[in-house]
Structures are given as C-alpha cells and as structure tokens.
C-alpha cells in the first residue's frame, strides 16, 4: 500500500526545499524590538514613556548644543551672534578654558608644567594598577612620580625632591638590611637614615639652590580643575598608608592603639567633610605654632587626608575581615612574627580584596574636593561660582560653565569606575 501510494502520488518530497527566511516578525530589528520593547502591555507602556523622556531631554539639549557658538569675546557679542536661535554661548568656555583648568593665578607661560605632570600620571599609575601584567621594575616609575610631579608643579630646585627621594630610598635600603634583626629596629634605623639624608640634603639645597631650578609657583596659585586633581591624587596617595595603619590598629589587641584608632575613625566618619574643611580654614591655624604659617592648601590636604584615610581604613578592615581565618593561623604556624605575617601574608591578600572599595573611596573623595570652593579656594567649582560668574563680561552665563564642569568630572570619575569594574573582573577570575 505504501509502495503504491509512493508511486502514484508524489506526496513525499525527495529534495529538501531551500530554507525560507524566517517571518519578518521573527528576525532582526523587529524581533529584537518585539522581545525587548513590546513583549507585554506594561513593557510597551514603559517603552513609550522611556522614548518620551529621552525625546524631551534630547529635544531641549540638541538645539542648545547645535546652535551654540564659540565666537565672541563677551556675553553681549555672544548674544548678538546667537540672535534668537536659543543656542549655547560656548565662547565663555573657549575664553576661560585655561582658567577652568589651571586657575587664574598659575602663570601662563608655566602651564605646560602641570600639563606634563598630568600626562606623566598615565605613565606612573599603570604599574601600580596593572601590576600583574607589567614587569616589576616599572613600579619604580610610580615611586618616582610624586617627586617629579612636585618638581614640575611647584617648581624650585630639583635638588629638594631629589634629596627627599634619596632619603626615602636610603631608608628603604637600610630597612632591608636591618630588618632581619626585627621589624622595629629596622624601622627605627630606616627613619634615622632618612632623617640624616634629609638633614645633609638641606645644606646642599641651600648652598646650590639654582641647580636645575624651575621658576617656583606658590601653592596659592593652584586653582581650577588642576586643584581638584592635585587634592584628589595627593590625598588619596597619602591616605593609603595611613588607612592601612589605622585598619591594622583597629584590629590590634593593644587597647591604647585600638582605642585611638577607633575614636579617630568613628569621629572622622561621623562628621561632614565640610566641617573638617572649616576646621582647616578657620580653626587649625590656632593649633599650629603662630609663626609656622601653613598654607591653606597644606591645611586642607591635612584634613582631607585624615578624612579619606578613615574611610580607606574601614574598607581595608573589611578586606582583613574577609580573609579566611586559616591565613592568619597559617602565618602563625610558620613562625612569622606580627610584622612579617602582615607584610607577607595578610596585607597582600587583604589589599587585593579591598581594591574596588578603595577605588570607590577615591572617586568619592575626588568628587568631594569640590567642597573646597566653600572655603574660598578657587577650584573648578569655586572659580565658576566666584570670579567667572561675577565678571561683568560673562554675567548670566552659567549653563555652559556647569556643563563643562560636569563633563570634566564625569570623564575622570567614569573612567576610574570603569577601570575599577574591569579590575574587579580580573581579580575574580584569578581567584577561581
């Protein structure tokens, strides 16, 4: 029967028909939209609302940007050029761009120095961050960077940063030699050596102050976005070692040390940064010797460093607590003493866990450096709120300036946080 059927009617196809393209509603953009935008009534409604919001924002923003002008030397000329187009007056950014970046007091002809220091940052930072990919010697670049950057930004003889660096290097060498006799003697010897080198260096610097001298620039001349960057970088780097010490101190079994660390951390974390800046601005000078005359920027760095080290200490404490107890016990069973166990076993692991948290603190701190505008320092925000907005040339121009400030901060902070997430992924894979 089947035979007959097979012969009489060509019912069974013996060749494969060519694959037809799937129906349009199952392919490409349509399918994607159906699945991602209109899968249900609620979803459709949300899509429509989303599109409306996006449309509303873009329809306001795009004409403003597209019709904007970069011409004109003051607000009146700018308005004349714009007419009724409703565009932005970006001329203010063109004219004030150097001020926004460097502040209005940093000498024009020296602006290349902070610029070079900024770009060197990209050479100096990767060795610390990408330690797993780069050869170990590149860390020396990172170690060298603070001195080079100081010399470039503040100027003066190259000898003073050189001697500071030499003191630290000598201290480190002495430390590695003496360390086998114990951590504390090693540390003391290192400090003594460093101080001796600095003391000797002082004479040399005084005698030969003109060696490779760049024109010195006072701290007070720092301003603009550069000030935010300086404060952020300096305070975060300074607060890392202090934060580690505080975190270890908080875990210590010595009540005096522990008590001090707990009180310090909780106090700093309990008050807003702005009150600490008020302290730096109006109170701290009462507590320093009358003739010491610390710059405002130095006082601010002291307070912001104290602030961020308390937060970093808490992050590192989390890292220490997350380490399995077995690591501590293993270190003990090897007969390592406390400094050795910490330095060789515990801290490397704890710091690795803490890196994303530390980066978060760093980003937060960098954003918080804008608060110095409240105590009459001309950082990016202070500069916009003060001299630029009050200048008669640009009265009434603020959207453009704030947009510029937003973009500058966004680029830096988003970059750092993207990097942090990338690092988190890297660290996770090599854990497993």
């Amino acid at each position: 029967m089947s035979d007959a059927h097979a012969h009489s009617v060509a019912f069974v196809r013996d060749t494969e028909i060519p694959a037809a393209p799937p129906p349009t509603r199952e392919t490409g953009a349509v399918k994607w939209m159906r699945e991602n935008l209109f899968s249900s009534v609620a979803n459709t409604v949300m899509t429509i609302i989303g599109v409306l919001i996006a449309w509303y924002l873009l329809s306001g923003l795009i004409p403003w940007i597209v019709n904007g002008t970069w011409q004109g030397d003051d607000i009146r000329e700018c308005r004349e050029i714009l007419g009724d187009s409703g565009g932005a007056c970006f001329a203010v950014i063109r004219e004030r761009w150097p001020q926004l970046l460097y502040g209005f007091q940093y000498p024009d002809e020296l602006r290349w120095r902070p610029t070079v220091a900024f770009f060197l940052l990209f050479v100096a930072v990767p060795p610390a961050l990408f330690a797993m990919f780069l050869p170990r010697w590149t860390l020396a670049l990172t170690a060298l960077y603070p001195f080079v950057a100081y010399w470039l930004i503040w100027g003066g003889s190259v000898l003073s940063p050189v001697f500071v660096a030499m003191g630290i290097a000598a201290g480190y060498v002495v430390f590695t030699r003496v360390e086998r006799r114990g951590f504390v003697p090693g540390l003391l010897a290192a400090v003594a050596t460093a101080v001796a080198v600095w003391w000797l260096g002082g004479f040399v610097v005084e005698a030969a102050s003109g060696v490779l001298a760049l024109e010195p620039v006072e701290s007070r001349a720092m301003g603009g976005f550069m000030l935010n960057l300086i404060l952020g970088v300096v305070c975060v780097s300074l607060s890392l070692p202090i934060g580690i010490a505080l975190a270890l101190g908080r875990q210590s079994r010595l009540p005096v040390v522990k008590g001090f660390c707990v009180v310090f951390i909780e106090f700093i974390r309990g008050v807003p940064l702005i009150t600490l800046l008020f302290v730096a601005n109006v109170v701290l000078s009462y507590f320093l010797p009358p003739e010491s005359n610390f710059d405002l920027i130095v006082r601010v760095i002291i307070m912001i460093t104290a602030f961020s080290s308390a937060y970093i200490a808490e992050v590192i404490r989390g890292g220490l607590a997350a380490l399995p107890k077995g690591q501590y016990e293993a270190a003990d069973s090897l007969g390592l003493d406390y400094p050795q166990a910490m330095r060789l076993i515990i801290l490397p692991q704890a710091l690795k866990i803490s890196i994303p948290g530390i980066v978060n603190v760093a980003v937060g701190l960098f954003k918080d450096t804008t608060l110095v505008s409240v105590i009459s320092m001309f950082d990016l925000v202070g500069l916009i709120r003060g001299p630029i907005l009050s200048s008669t040339d640009w009265v009434g121009v603020y959207w453009e300036l704030w947009a510029a400030a937003c973009i500058l901060f966004f680029v830096v902070c988003y970059g750092i946080s993207q990097y942090s997430q990338w690092l988190e992924r890297q660290l996770r894979t090599d854990h497993r």
Binding site: I75, R76, E95, Q99, G103, F104, Q105, Y106, D108, E218, R220, F278, N281, V282, V283, S285, Y286, P289, P290, E291, N293, L296, V374, I375, S376, F378, G382, R385, G386, P387, L389, S390, S391, T392, D393, V395, G396, Y398
Partner: protein
C-alpha cells in the same frame, strides 16, 4: 615628666608668641611679600581680571602698603577670603592686613581684637529692585522676598530695618555676590540688598542696568576700612598712615604723574616735602625708608585717582564721590596732618 616638658614648652612658646606680636613689619620684610586679605570678587573693589591680576579699590590699598613697606606694589600675595574666613585669616596670622569691604563696628574692633586703621569708603546699605515692581521706597517692601549676601552686617541691618518699620519679609541668604545677582535677575527674589557701592557696581554689569533701580533709603552706616590685628601698633601705624598719605596726597595735589618730579625737586610746601620724605624724618619714625609715601603714591596714585580709576563716575560702576569726597569738597574724607 610629661608635665614638666609641657610647662617648659608652654613657657618658651609663650615668649615666642609675645615677641611675634610686634613683628608683623619684620615678617613682611623678611618674606618679601605682603599677605593681603581681599574678597573673592566684587567688581571695582577687588576682582581678578581676565589675566588673573587683582584690580580694584581695596586692592589699591594693599598695593600702596606693599609699595610703602617693600618698595614694590607687585609684592602682594592676595588671599581671597569669604565673610566667614576673613577674621580668622587675620587673627591666625595668615594675612597681614584685611582690605575687604569690612564694616568698622564696635564689637569687631573690641571683642574680636582687631584694629581698624581708618575708613577708605563710607558706605551704607541699600536696596535694589526691578523698576517694573513699582516700588519707590523701601518702606513699601512689606512682604517682599529679599536676597542677602551672607556673612556681612547686612543681615543684621536688614532685620533691624524691617523690625523697626513693623514689616515682614522673606530672607533668602546667598553665599556669593555673583549668585545673589543671578537669583535677583531670575526674579527669585524681588529685592537685593547689600552695600550701595556693591549694588551700583553689580547693577553696572547688568545687560539692562536701567531695568533696576536703587531705592533712596540708606538703612545703615557702613564705614569700610582696612584692619590689622590688635596688639601690633607699629604695623597698624604703617597701614593707617599709608592710607592717610593717599588721602593727603589728593588734598595737596600730589598725583601719580607728578609725584616723582615733586620728590626730585622739592617745592616750598613743607607738608608735601614731609609727605614725600624730602624733609623731616617721618619715614624713620615708622621704621620705613624716607620715600615710603612717595613709593605708595607712585604705585597706585592718590586717593582720588584710585577712586576714579576703579569705581568713579568714568568707570562702568559709576559711583559719585558723595560722602567720599575730601572734606574740602563737603565729604568725609579727612586725613590728620603729616607733621
């Protein structure tokens, strides 16, 4: 043991501190620059220009003192201060003098331990309103929203004025003058109040200055002047007499242009000669060179010139001399004699 060390250091530091009080002049000369506190920006009075060079009426006083003490009007480190920080900056020694639209009041002079050395601008608090608000007197402002720049005596005067007149108002305190103007122009407040000089200065920068009027009432006395720390009378004398030299110079017709000639070829007016150091020992009496006043005047000009170039009627700010004319012209500007 601890305590002994503490007491010993305390005693030593105390000695140093007492010594330090009388040494502002030495410190300035050693440092080579004068640290002068100014505002963070009031057009005409103290404001960095597009190149970052500080300009203005108060700035000129700083430069004059620097010229008198150091011989160089550029040897000034301008320290921008806010209403909150100005007094501690001065008290802590961060700045040597404050020339920042600061009103001379009893409690500041006594309780806060400062010395006002004189008055360089007689001001008074006023009100600015949009012309289309239809207000012609401050007594019609019952119920209005008032923008105030905080950190000055302005808030207290305002509270007193409305209280005395039995009126109510909505205070909107704003930190910086620029933002207060921004709020005022946006209509977020009906009235902007601060010293009349600052009102005039800021109104001059508006797109349409005629859309705003400054009301006739002056609700307070605001003698603005430079001040120094209490307890260093030598330094106070230097700042006081530098200011007086500028005023006397105008009275005697000594200007920036002719001061060099007058000093080079002394005339027969003994007061001019004493002022310019060609006669007598006035400079030595305050520990400065004989040509200190000449340097100050050569650097910035006399009081009238400083007024005219920074805030006078020919500038965008356009303030009339008014109370700030020489006493010979019916104003209050009056310097004790150089003798």
């Amino acid at each position: 043991m601890n305590k002994t060390i503490f007491v010993a250091t305390a005693a030593a530091a105390g000695l140093v501190a007492i010594g330090a009080q009388a040494q502002t002049l030495n410190q300035v000369q050693e440092r080579g620059t004068l640290n002068c506190g100014v505002t963070t920006g009031v057009p005409g009075f103290a404001e960095p220009d597009a190149n970052g060079v500080w300009q203005g009426f108060d700035v000129a006083v700083c430069r004059a003192v620097a010229a008198a003490v150091l011989g160089d009007p550029e040897a000034v480190e301008f320290v921008p201060t806010t209403g909150k920080t100005r007094f501690t900056a001065l008290a802590s020694g961060e700045i040597d003098m404050l020339a920042r639209n600061t009103t001379w009041t009893f409690s500041r002079d006594t309780d806060l331990k400062f010395d006002f050395v004189g008055v360089n601008y007689y001001d008074g608090q006023g009100f600015m309103v949009p012309a289309d608000l239809g207000v012609s007197s401050a007594t019609e402002l019952d119920g209005a929203t008032v923008c105030i720049q905080t950190g000055t005596t302005t808030e207290l005067n305002l509270a007193d004025f409305f209280r005395v007149n039995g009126m109510s108002y909505e205070p909107v305190p704003i930190e910086t003058g620029a933002e207060a103007v921004q709020q005022y122009l946006a209509g977020a407040c009906d009235v902007y109040t601060t010293d009349r000089s600052a009102l005039a200065a800021q109104r001059a920068g508006f797109e349409n200055p005629d859309d705003s009027v400054i009301l006739p009432e002056v609700v307070s006395k605001e003698p603005l002047g430079p001040l120094v720390r209490h307890g260093d009378s030598e330094w106070a004398d230097i700042v006081r007499w530098t200011l007086n030299a500028m005023i006397t110079a105008e009275e005697l017709g000594v200007t920036q242009d002719n001061v060099e000639d007058m000093a080079a070829s002394p005339g027969d007016n003994p007061e001019i000669n004493r002022l310019l150091g060609t006669e007598g020992e006035l400079g030595a009496m305050i520990g400065l060179d004989a040509d200190w006043a000449k340097n100050a005047i050569a650097a910035v000009g006399n009081y009238g010139e400083v007024f005219d170039t920074n805030i006078g009627e020919s500038t965008a700010i356009g303030l009339a001399r008014g109370l700030n004319a020489q006493y010979t012209d019916g104003g209050l500007i009056y310097s004790p004699p150089f003798r």
